[in-house]
């Protein structure tokens, strides 16, 4: 018998192509619906893209189709990318945050707003204390707002002299 939880278990095994965590821990999976049709089930999965048009999306879709499609009793898998609700870093689970930190990627605190405040001065680079994932020091500074993927930027730790990545606050 296929239920939502068994499909979620399969999704938990699918890593994000650009992040060392699963697509479930990253908060991409918004909804799983199962329609039973005789012997075979139709599974539809709603996915929230992190960044719009992220180049990893087709890979994620293929992985989901392959892995969920291989579950016994699943006849058809459909994957929809939706923007409502919007993905935000708040959707990353605590397990996901720990795993990312272990790989040198930090995540903005919970509660980041999607709707950024008015058009006040934005001239200051955001250097609010982001603790270094390696030595926990707050002596860190923004090195570059752009990094190895569209969702990450680069910070530098003055204490342990390591660079680390920080997910953009969106």
């Amino acid at each position: 018998m296929i239920d939502t939880e068994s499909i979620m278990d399969v999704l938990r095994e699918i890593p994000d192509p650009e992040m060392p965590i699963s697509i479930v821990d990253l908060g991409l999976v918004e909804d799983v619906r199962i329609e039973t049709n005789g012997d075979s089930a139709v599974v539809s999965i709603d996915i929230l893209p992190t960044f719009v048009g992220c180049p990893a999306l087709p890979m994620i879709e293929n992985e989901i189709r392959t892995k969920v499609g291989a579950v016994e009793g699943v006849g058809e898998v459909s994957v929809q990318f939706i923007y409502d609700p919007p993905w935000s870093v708040d959707r990353i689970s605590d397990d996901g945050r720990r795993s990312l930190a272990a790989h040198g990627v930090t995540v903005p605190e919970h509660g980041s707003k999607l709707d950024v405040p008015g058009h006040g001065s934005t001239v200051e680079l955001r250097t609010s204390a982001i603790a270094c994932p390696f030595c926990n020091s707050n002596e860190t500074r923004l090195d570059s707002q752009f990094g190895p993927t569209r969702c990450r930027m680069i910070y530098y730790c003055e204490s342990c002299k390591n660079s680390f990545e920080h997910m953009k606050r969106v």
Binding site: G53, P55, Y83, V123, R126, D143, F146, R150, I154, K168
Partner: protein, 259 residues
């Protein structure tokens, strides 16, 4: 609403083309810097800006797709030049002058963010959902370019002079970003393109001047003349043709072929 009233369909198509075409051309210009950025971080930054803008353009073309019965690729690469709705500022080559690249980014990123914020309140829900995501991403671009305006303005005489020259060069044409598409007023009235209480041009001019002054730079901007006809009505600079010839070269070899 999920469906557009018939009489507002064409104006909405023009508006979405303006958004997507601005982004596609700016992204293409940004990608010119890949491998040539003045420092490694900016090489990565401009390559990321290109990725962002082209991805944003793609998602808007996909919204347009069912309205015009064309694929995103056909919209991006398969139109004649007078069917593009981008403003002329995104068509200009920057001549690999870093100051011009930064100045153009300054005018365009701030405009793009304001326009997306307005569209994120659109009564056309598929657009509002996408626009609010794009506006959040665009904020990173704005932060990036503002920091460079101040850094170059406060740098030394040379960096300040070069940036001032670039701002003076682009400030006469930048306000044409605000040239309305045909029947834009009807979109505004219908709540499809809602405007904030402060008029968008003045909001744009105020924030640009604030940042420029922070860097010790002068910046004068006047609203576009009411009758001026530019990119939003399909009147383009000579540069768009060469840009399209390069960008669409492969597509035109065999339009519609599957990759």
């Amino acid at each position: 609403m999920d469906n557009l009233p018939e009489n507002l369909k064409q104006p909405m198509i023009d508006l979405l083309l303006a958004v997507a075409d601005d982004k596609l051309m700016l992204g293409h210009r940004n990608s010119d810097w890949t491998g040539l950025g003045p420092i490694l971080e900016e090489d990565i930054a401009f390559s990321s800006l290109a990725q962002d803008e082209i991805a944003h353009a793609q998602v808007i073309y996909e919204l347009l797709s069912p309205l015009v019965d064309k694929t995103a690729d056909e919209l991006a690469y398969g139109r004649s030049i007078d069917q593009y709705r981008c403003a002329q500022i995104v068509e200009l080559p920057d001549g690999f002058d870093w100051a011009v690249a930064i100045a153009r980014q300054f005018f365009c990123d701030h405009f793009d963010r304001l326009r997306l914020r307005a569209l994120s309140h659109s009564s056309y829900k598929p657009l509002a959902d996408v626009a609010s995501r794009l506006a959040a991403e665009e904020q990173v671009h704005v932060d990036h370019v503002d920091a460079w305006i101040v850094r170059l303005g406060k740098g030394n005489t040379d960096s300040k002079q070069r940036l001032q020259t670039a701002l003076d060069q682009l400030s006469p044409i930048a306000p044409m970003l605000f040239e309305p598409v045909d029947h834009e007023a009807e979109l505004i009235t219908a709540g499809l393109y809602p405007q904030a209480e402060t008029d968008m041009f003045h909001a744009w001019r105020d924030v640009l001047q604030h940042v420029a002054h922070e860097g010790g730079l002068a910046l004068e901007l006047s609203p576009p003349n009411a009758g001026a006809q530019g990119g939003r009505r399909g009147h383009h600079s000579e540069h768009l043709k060469s840009l399209l010839d390069e960008m669409c070269e492969v597509y035109r070899l065999e339009p519609g072929v599957a990759w």
